[in-house]
Amino acid sequence: MRFRAWARNAGGRATAFARWFAPRYLDADLRTLGLWRIVIGLFLIVDTLRHAAEIRFFYSNEGLFQNHWHLFSPTAEFNWSLLTAFSTPTGVTIAFAAALVCFACFTVGFKTRAFNALSLVWVVSIDQRLLLRENGGYIVVVLLAFWSLFLPMGARFSVDRWRRRGRARRGMSPHAIATEPRAERPAGAGRGYRSLAVALVLFNFASIYIFNVVNKFGTTWRSGQTVHYVLHLDRMVTPLAVWARELLPYPVTVVITWSVLVVEALIAMCILWPSQRRFLRPIALLLLVPLHTSFGVMMRLGPFSWAMIAFSVFLVAPVHWEMLGRWFRRRTPVVRLGYHGPTGTRAARILALLDRGRRLTIVAPDGSSRSDGSGLWLVDGARRYEGRAAWWRALSATPSGFVLAPMVRIMTLGLADLLVAVVAARPDAWAHFFGWRGQADDDAPARFSTRPTAAAPPTGLFRRSATFAREGLLVVLLLFETSQLINENKAFPKPMKHTQPKAIRAVIGYPRLFQGWGMFAPNPIRKDGRVGIDAITVDGRHIDPLRVIGGLSPAPDLDLSDDRGSGYNQIHQDYQNRIQRDQNRSHRTALQRLLTSWHERTGRPQDEIVHFDVYWLRDDNPAPGALAPKNPQRRCLASWRKPGVHRAGDRPLPPRCKVTAEPKKDPNRSSSDPAGDLPPFVARLVRWWRGD
């Protein structure tokens, strides 16, 4: 009896908790998901174009990382990329074009689910093809594409949705569409979506900030020196950061360092706080967008900052859409739209379908008020619009048109305006050409799309089963990702770390669903470095082909002391940072091959390299308050001379440098011990926690 009572009590509490939890963490607004899809899609397109610029030297066999070598010597345990099937620059370009098509279809919401899955395949493939330049930003991109797979991304603002609505109202007149009563919207066809996937997205997003705060427990962060050191990482900084480091006094950088920690902590709190989301989520957006924008414009971190901003769109809550709707309705007066003729009917139908804000009062044609022949006329207060002006004005009165019309006009450089003018000038000719017929039946009953959309509660057995399977899969993924989070983040104590079965590692590793979050944690890098090549051509010139590939001047620059930013983009600088490590020594072969066949790449015999030395150039960042770097060093990574050649031009070739291994880390690690400055007891506790 007691057990029963206990069980009943526990069940009641669980239900109460579920009732409290679900609306806060499991619900997503479909409009938010639609907007999120568009932002993610645009981001993927831009990011892929960034990679496409490097096809020849980083993704094809003419460059630094041939596919056969990649497959022979994989850089990760679970390494799979569709791009490894492509060898030539042309082939890789075709593959990138296919990826862009998938991203574009995903962006506009055409066959959304299928293209979401294909987008994930391409995102993973592009990432896995060149892991030497991967950083946390790439993982965020994968996570964006991955989690969106479990959400109804095409339920709003999509071609799919548009087609569904249009099909459901086929045969209805514009007037009938505009006046269909919304109260008859079937139950369940709401604007919300409930799934564990929503919570996973929120928690994953918040965990990035949480662990970026708690993992930063190092001395440098606590003493406020991080921003100073980071701004002096020449391989990563942009000219704006160089300008800032020379301008900002050291105490200001200290304040900024601590501010970063506070802001990141606040963002995590605002994301997860269960109430007052109406205010807290915009605050989170207001904090994170400037934070990541400043990262993005000052550091060459690749996709990280922009992916996080794309991620943040998920925070837009239903209340914000309602506020936006109210603002739109206040701003846009109700206008009367009339139409006649087949072309006018078509246009009015489109406008009626777009008119989600009910700003158009569509007047059924009665023959009494014909326009000038353009098919549409519009009355806004006392002013009457006809011709193409009526078309644009009516479009601007719809929420979608309000956003899209100016963009379309600008992006098409006025061609859209011309097209509308041409259509409006001879509507009957267009109607004849396309076979459009007269007005639709005004008496057609209002027919609503009652197909259970992703938002609707599942009806059929199959749909219920699919929902159950999806949520089950999400539970499994939650467990796997939690395991990964514990293993990867230094904030979790050593006893919690565990060995994962191979199946879990494969599920995480193939799509790169990693969860280690700690940018510049526990301490930032204090040593700067880049690769420098001194190559001598057959006619005696000194060149650095890596600088040529990176779009810089060809003259070798082996002196870091005067660097004001290396000038290399993220792909180049991360590649250089990884290739210098001994564990990636095998990948230097491709670099050597590229150098020895450089003249074949340029197509000029005089560019043939007869001697080269490849160095890893490094120095220590300046101490707090100083500007000049210290302790410059040079380590030879590779050296070669063409057999039998001793002179280039009129000068003898220098001796080859001696390739040396990466210096071993200081066993005392006094300077890098994040707990070094703490009281002994606390330091011991921290070291125990970290398992040191």
């Binding site: 050409f433 027919r447 009652t450």
Partner: protein
């Protein structure tokens, strides 16, 4: 003019649908055959790791395979599962064009993953799959067609079910004519390459059947039957020359096409049954269905055929599943034999075939569908058998419901369903008895007949013309690639077009694995039987061939041991070629890891030494008993300590 147009610009949509299904089945069969060798040929534990293949090919570089992306055995299995899904979708006609393109990519990839395993079947299948992309394969007999019809005609009443609107037919284009041309290139190009003495003397099949590595078990059993070679050699040689000309005759098509179809089927069946050339015979057999003309279909399902007794079906119009079944049955009843009616006691008692009273009618209406064929009444599963029996193509399968055991089981299942049919309908979201059914988004869309434009709009007309132009251009491109490949492969072919001098066409052929090697046993079949034999000795003193698991057959005395499957057939021919020496390094490594059957973890099965031979033996002339001398050409050998690769073989020996 109309006759010519009908003959050269159209292929019946049902023939196209049947071709798609049979070709899809052939592809799936081929995939399963390859799946048996997934470790050996599609993973890095096999004879050629992906990195090594790409490295060897880097200079040629006109081979592309998506399967190069997959390294481990697990990854290769995953790739094959995806491929099976794509093939299955193409076969059933779901998003037909999309999945056909995906299937084409997969087929090219399967062939290109290891250039040594490419065979004539791959060239034929890729060419046919490529050109048929320009034909509307999903117009009939497909999920697409069913969905389209389901969407466009949402029948609710028996009267609507009994309407027979016209079915869609393919739009005319030159793609069908170009398909005949391609088939002509394949058939004729292959036959014209057979210029040797044995083809003239009728001995070609005798020699071909005595090559153990490619002869099927049936071929081995039949090869010594007197007169077989003399009878079938001319057929194999001349039938391909006759098929396409017969198909192109524009008049009397039912007979000329019928003859062409018979020749194509016999030709395909002989090759498919007697040899193991993979997709070659089965692709051509599937393509034979394209020869079925509209007239033949009309004779089988048209109004002038000999009609069976019409069927009157009374079904529960309130049950969602019953209505859906009736709609499906109507779509499968091509001949229009079935008339549907709502099952009410009043309607039932008025049917002349019903002999009971109204009470009996009420009981039947509640418990079963009722079908009348003339004056015979069928209930329960027998009614289902009658309705299913009228279904086109699959109708005969419903005869199984008349078998005693099956009948009992089917009746039990039917009764269980019938008593719960409304609950099932609701559970499946189909609605029943006035309960709201979740309707399709486009429900209420008017039937196309009521919305059909009286005249074709100029935009539609131009769109159709442009579409036909693109289709024709695409199909012409495939034919041009095939002609160029044919010429490249056989420079002396009478089908000289000069297209092989266009590098782009040759490159396209190479990338698409259309290599023009469709001439089987050309110019002559080999006069000697040959096979690759590995003579290996393990630490446990076991003398074994690591590929077959049997003792090495160094005398070629056991045909079954030489027959290792289509993949090995092509590979062993390639690896023996001196031009392919770079491929041998990984083959050696594969063998030292235990090959197909040895478990390297077992110390006794670790290899001590191995020798790889290309063993040849002359084939005796027809009627002669004497067997020729055995010649062994050593390809390579390995003695002493063997260094294996990264991963050991995981299979155990079969014995």
């Amino acid at each position: 003019m109309d006759t010519l147009k009908r003959a050269y610009t159209r292929i019946d949509a049902r023939s196209l649908g049947l071709f798609r299904i049979l070709f899809g089945i052939a592809l799936i069969g081929d995939l399963f055959a390859r799946w048996g060798h997934v470790r050996d040929f599609y993973s890095n534990d096999g004879v050629l790791p992906n990195h090594n293949h790409l490295f060897i090919l880097k200079d040629e570089a006109e081979v592309w395979s998506v399967y190069h992306s997959f390294s481990s055995v697990g990854e290769a299995h995953a790739a094959f599962v995806i491929t099976l899904f794509l093939y299955a979708c193409f076969t059933v006609g779901w998003y037909t064009r999309t999945f056909q393109a995906a299937s084409l990519v997969c087929l090219i990839g399967l062939s290109g993953r290891n250039v040594l395993t490419h065979g004539p079947g791959d060239s034929v299948a890729v060419a046919l799959l490529a050109i048929s992309w320009f034909l509307p394969l999903g117009l009939r007999l497909s999920v697409d067609a069913l969905r389209r019809s389901w969407r466009e005609r949402d029948e609710k009443t028996p009267a609507e079910l009994n309407e027979r609107p016209p079915l869609p037919s393919p739009r005319p284009s030159l793609a069908p004519l170009l398909t005949w041309v391609l088939l002509g290139v394949i058939y004729t190009g292959g036959a014209l390459a057979q210029t040797g003495e044995t083809w003239r003397s009728g001995e070609a099949l005798h020699y071909a059947l005595h090559v153990d590595r490619w002869t099927s078990a049936l071929g081995v059993a039949l090869r010594d039957v007197a007169g077989l070679s003399a009878g079938l050699t001319p057929l194999l040689h001349f039938a391909p020359l006759a098929i396409v000309p017969l198909a192109l005759v524009p008049v009397g098509r039912r007979w000329t096409r019928g003859l062409a179809l018979t020749l194509a089927i016999v030709h395909g069946l002989v090759l498919g049954a007697l040899f193991t050339f993979g997709l070659y015979a089965w692709s051509l057999l599937a393509a034979a269905t394209l020869l079925i003309p509209e007239e033949t279909w009309a004779a089988r399902y048209g109004p002038n055929r000999r009609r069976p007794r019409p069927l009157d079906v009374f079904y529960d119009a309130d049950c969602g599943v019953c209505l859906a079944s009736a709609r499906l049955a109507r779509r499968l009843d091509w001949a229009g034999d079935i008339t549907f009616a709502a099952a009410t006691p009043e309607a039932l008692v008025t049917h002349p075939g019903f002999e009971g009273d109204e009470e009996e009618a009420s009981r039947l209406v509640e418990t079963t569908m009722v079908a009348f064929a003339g004056d015979r009444m069928f209930l329960y599963e027998q009614a289902v058998a009658q309705v299913g029996g009228r279904a086109a193509l699959v109708g005969p399968l419903f005869a199984l419901l008349r078998l005693p055991g099956v009948r009992r089981l089917a009746r039990s299942l039917y009764r269980r369903f019938a008593t719960r049919r409304r609950e099932v309908s609701v559970a499946l979201g189909m609605g029943a008895c006035g309960l709201p059914a979740p309707k399709a988004a486009d429900e209420g869309r008017r039937a196309p007949t009521s919305e059909a434009a009286p005249r074709e709009a100029p935009a539609d007309r131009w769109g159709r013309r442009f579409g036909a132009l693109l289709t024709t251009a695409g199909a012409a491109g495939v034919v041009a690639v095939a002609l160029a490949a044919n010429e490249t492969h056989d420079p002396d072919t009478p089908l000289q077009t000069g297209l092989s001098r266009i590098p782009t066409l040759v490159s396209l052929g190479s990338y698409a694995r259309i290599l023009g090697d469709w001439g089987l046993f050309a110019p002559d079949p080999p006069r000697h039987n040959a096979a690759l034999v590995v003579d290996a000795t393990t630490q446990g003193a076991w003398n074994v061939d690591p590929i077959t698991g049997w003792p090495p057959d160094l005398d070629l005395s056991q045909p079954a041991r030489a027959r290792k499957g289509t993949m090995w057939l092509r590979y062993q021919e390639g690896i023996g070629d001196e031009a392919r020496v770079p491929f041998r390094k990984e083959f050696r490594r594969y063998l030292t890891r235990g090959g197909r059957v040895l478990d390297r973890k077992d110390r006794n099965q670790a290899l001590k030494s191995l020798e790889v031979y290309w063993v040849k033996r002359d084939i005796p002339a027809p009627g002669a008993d004497a067997t020729g001398e055995v010649e062994r050409v050593k390809i390579f050998s390995q003695r002493g300590a063997l260094s294996g690769g990264r991963s050991p073989a995981r299979r155990r020996a079969p014995r």
